[in-house]
């Protein structure tokens, strides 16, 4: 199928081809409001006209700040339709973080969801000389702002409508203008949240998005009947592709939840057929399931456990359509009736045809758990620079440890140092105003460095070990892949976060962050009394439990020759939760390794000494914004015995 030149073209196509199909839903004021493609096209048209009235021109950048709201998605289309470039910004970033992006992109307009975002932009407006207008979606609290500069999307659309009324020719003009867009034009600029350094503006073209979207739709046979729920950050490439690009190209319906608190209820109501969630979401869902089942009556729990075992036994085979004895099929069918079906129903996943997880490694147990229930959960590997898709698992070829085969039209190469490179139609135009970085990432012949180390296994599936630059070596020269180790640790429900050290050291040591929900539940069952997170984290029995987990990880590591030298010798349980507000995690909840190295210098040193405890004092920012100090004596524990490599192998 020949693709159309730009995303607005797809909007026009859908408005014609799928005119009366529901394109978008939004739970607003208690019910799901619906818009058909034709309606959306009309809204976008008047919106675009209004933007033009306000003086927005081809090539202008427009920041979009907010949650998953229909009008913000329409903003993308409206902006793109007049050749301007939308720049979605993470809504939870504070004004100081935001100002860099806005300033760097040189935005002319900012489209904000509500007063909160408007206030942020207003508070830094003096640093943004190019900013001329602020638009907002929700009018609550907005009545006292200057209506000349700060105006609602509704008002803009009214402007547009009036303009259209004045001059009916404009509608035609709008379409002609869209026709001038070409596939190579920049379509959107996405700032990567960068684990290191400043965010970079990834420029993606219409073709990047359109071709990858179409390829993805083809790969998973997604069509106009899909339902998906948009709940991930607008500024993240994934949402832009899943909820915008793929929706436009396939014509399927995107549903926006009512509020962050109601996402799971809203997901249950919508029951999406196509669903993406980072491993974290699946993990916390599973934890919630486990915790909730702890409270179930004994027979029910026994039944639940039984059928979960049954599912573990042949659920995956049922999903893959492998031949099975009749009895097993029956057994599984009963389980489907009693457990899996209802469970999927509660999770809002009973209609899921394709579910993806990516971004990080997912625990194999967690991964298999969902698959065994009959949810077609798959992994993919992607990047902003690739318009997401690099590799993905095709149906029936699923393995928890791999990220699948190269996506359609994607080529993959492994560099000598183990770094993965790819080349695809989705490869970005370049970093905005940063040719140097562009050049160092993308070779002249179009290969892009992913920054991840990995290898292709015998079945042709890609396996990712770690960030290429993070893979270090111990003093005895054995390989140290920190993230690989951390992920193994994090697969235990009681461990929320882990940070491993070892590069240039004698042995591997680790920080562990307990998962409060899981551990407090465990503590309750074991009659452990505690007053605070800190006390629980320092509890000897908690240490014992963590120690057992680490021993298990060590056994696993020892079993793999490539990383067998990286067994953990010493660890500590952190007295506080690693927090994005304190800068310890990125907004996407990734560990800021460097920052932690600096902040917890004393603890790290203690890990490599023979001390049993170490005093530490940290400054934290509380939820209400006040600053405070947390002080603690953190216990350090050595593992009695590291598994013997020979025995293991």
């Amino acid at each position: 199928m020949r693709s159309l030149p730009s995303l607005p073209h797809y909007l026009l196509r859908n408005a014609e081809q799928y005119a009366n199909r529901v394109a978008m839903r939004h739970k607003d004021l208690g019910i799901w409001r619906e818009w058909t493609w034709a309606e959306i096209c009309g809204e976008v048209q008047s919106y675009a006209m209004g933007l033009k009235e306000l003086g927005l021109c081809h090539g202008d950048k427009v920041a979009i700040i907010g949650g998953n709201r229909p009008r913000l998605y329409w903003s993308f289309s409206a902006i793109q339709s007049i050749g301007a470039i939308p720049v979605p910004v993470y809504a939870d970033s504070v004004a100081e973080e935001m100002v860099y992006v806005l300033e760097h992109a040189g935005v002319r307009f900012a489209v904000c969801q509500d007063q909160e975002q408007v206030d942020k932009v207003v508070s830094v407006h003096d640093q943004l000389p190019g900013l001329s207008n602020i638009l907002y979606d929700e009018s609550r609290g907005m009545r006292d702002y200057d209506v000349q500069v700060i105006l609602s999307i509704d008002a803009v659309q009214n402007l547009g409508r009036r303009a259209l009324e004045r001059d009916s020719h404009r509608a035609v003009q709008w379409r002609t203008e869209i026709d001038t867009l070409s596939g190579n034009d920049m379509c959107v600029m996405l700032y990567t949240s960068g684990t290191t350094g400043r965010p970079k503006g990834v420029m993606l073209s219409h073709d990047n998005l359109i071709i990858t979207s179409i390829n993805a739709n083809t790969f998973d046979k997604l069509d106009v009947d899909e339902q998906t729920i948009a709940y991930l950050p607008l500024a993240w490439v994934g949402d832009h592709v899943f909820s915008y690009g793929q929706s436009l190209t396939a014509g399927y319906c995107v549903c926006c939840p009512e509020s962050p608190e109601t996402i799971s209820a809203d997901r249950r109501e919508i029951a999406p057929t196509y669903f993406f969630a980072p491993p974290r979401v699946f993990e916390s869902l599973l934890t919630a399931i486990t915790v909730a089942m702890e409270d179930a009556s004994r027979p029910k729990r026994a039944m639940f456990d039984h059928f979960i075992r049954v599912a573990k036994g042949y659920g995956e085979d049922v999903l893959n359509g492998a031949p099975l004895p009749l009895f097993s099929r029956l057994h599984y069918a009963i389980g489907e009736l009693l457990v899996y079906g209802p469970l999927k129903n509660r999770l809002g996943m009973s209609r899921v045809r394709v579910a993806y997880t990516a971004g990080e490694a997912i625990g194999p147990d967690i991964f298999r758990f969902y698959r065994s229930l009959g949810i077609n959960l798959k992994q993919l590997y992607g990047q902003t620079e690739a318009s997401v898709y690099i590799t993905a698992q095709p149906d029936g070829q699923i393995d928890a440890d791999t990220v699948g085969i190269p996506s359609l039209d994607v080529e993959i190469r492994i560099a000598d140092n183990g770094e993965v490179l790819y080349r695809s139609p989705g490869v970005f135009l370049g970093y905005y105003r940063d040719d140097e970085a562009t050049a160092s990432t993308r070779t002249a012949d179009g290969w892009v460095y992913t920054g991840d180390a990995g290898f292709i296994d015998e079945k042709g599936h890609l396996r990712i070990i770690d960030r290429a630059k993070d893979v270090g070596r111990l003093n005895d020269d054995s390989l140290f892949p920190p993230k690989y180790i951390e992920n193994k640790l994090k697969f235990f429900p009681s461990i929320k976060e882990a940070v491993a050290f070892g590069d240039g050291r004698d042995y591997v040591a680790a920080f562990v962050n307990i998962d409060l929900a899981a551990v407090s539940n465990w503590a309750e069952r074991n009659d452990i009394v505690y007053a605070s997170y800190q006390e629980l984290a320092g509890h000897p029995l908690v240490y014992d439990m963590i120690e057992r987990h680490i021993e298990e990880v060590n056994r696993d590591l020892a079993a793999e020759p490539r990383v067998a030298g990286a067994c953990i010798r010493r660890f500590l349980v952190l007295h506080k939760e690693l927090d994005a507000d304190d800068g310890e995690l990125t907004r996407t909840q990734k560990v800021r390794r460097k920052f932690i190295n600096e902040r917890y210098q004393a603890l790290i040193e203690a890990l490599y000494s023979d001390r049993d405890t170490q005093f530490v004092s940290t400054t934290v920012i509380f939820e209400d914004g006040r600053k405070g100090k947390i002080e603690a004596d953190v216990t350090i524990r050595s593992l009695g015995e590291v598994p013997d490599m020979q025995m293991a192998s």
Partner: protein, 274 residues
């Protein structure tokens, strides 16, 4: 970009210029129960659009004052003028019909109903559809119900309680119950909203939320508010004018700053013997 300015600032200027109309005035009102004087000869007024605080130590007659204003108690003496109409005796439902709503010191929600129904109940006065239509629940009855539901949903959205929309209120945490009660009073779209200790028993965060709602309510919808509150910080932040009661008498009336400086008020709060 400096154009953004709070409307409340303008409002206080207007108040200062004395342009605002009197919404309610209480003139020489006295109330006693079997010989015990709860309110003795109190007069004060509430201007349209302002936030008026009534403060005073425990037992000062604050709640009794609210009860008099909304017709639950009938004062033995004195006259109440609301929107230019004088009255001495009035049934609570008549007060409600004339545009006075209130919340209660101890949450007085309808425990058997959901959040949604509780707030819907605030629309009772605005619903008029006849019995026969309700019986069949089509036509006007249904469209009326839906029309008001929409309005109620806006309040739910305003108060950020969408996630408890369908939960029975009895089991909600106290702070949320107070919020629902405010929503119920808002649903009446009153001219005058009486809030009896809207922040009693709340933690700091909840108090901040509630303050924000009260300010927004006052500024966005122009609702006149009279509130009883113990937290002086809150009163000083919210109120345009304050009246201070003690042992059923008025001892001070003025802006927060004036009242704070008043010696009688300081004595009353410090518990100087009378």
């Amino acid at each position: 970009m400096n154009h953004a300015r709070r409307w409340s600032d303008q409002l206080s200027e207007e108040l200062g210029s004395g342009a605002s109309a009197e919404l309610l005035s209480v003139d020489n009102v006295s109330l006693s129960f079997g010989g015990v004087k709860a309110i003795a000869d109190i007069s004060f007024d509430i201007l349209k659009g302002e936030v008026r605080a009534i403060i005073g130590p425990n037992g000062a007659g604050k709640t009794s004052m609210l009860n008099v204003i909304n017709g639950f108690y009938h004062p033995q003496e004195g006259i109440i003028t609301f929107r230019g109409k004088q009255r001495r005796r009035m049934k609570p439902y008549q007060a409600a019909a004339s545009g006075i709503a209130r919340t209660f010191q101890n949450v007085a929600l309808f425990k058997g109903m959901s959040t949604l129904d509780n707030i819907m109940s605030g629309r009772s006065l605005k619903m008029h559809c006849g019995f026969l239509w309700q019986v069949v629940h089509i036509g006007p009855a249904r469209s009326e119900e839906i029309r008001h539901r929409r309005r109620v949903e806006e309040i739910i959205d305003f108060l950020e309680i969408a996630h408890i929309r369908k939960q029975p209120v009895g089991k909600l945490p106290y702070g949320l119950q107070k919020r629902v009660e405010l929503g119920r009073a808002m649903a009446m779209e009153p001219e005058l909203l009486l809030l009896d200790e809207p922040m009693a028993g709340m933690n700091l965060e909840e108090k901040e939320d509630m303050s924000r709602f009260i300010i927004d309510l006052n500024s966005e919808f122009g609702t006149t508010i009279a509130l009883i509150e113990h937290d002086m910080g809150v009163v000083m932040d919210l109120a345009d004018r304050v009246v201070v009661l003690d042992y059923g008498r008025k001892i001070a009336d003025g802006t927060p700053a004036e009242v704070q400086a008043n010696q009688d008020v300081i004595d009353a709060y410090l518990g100087v013997a009378h």
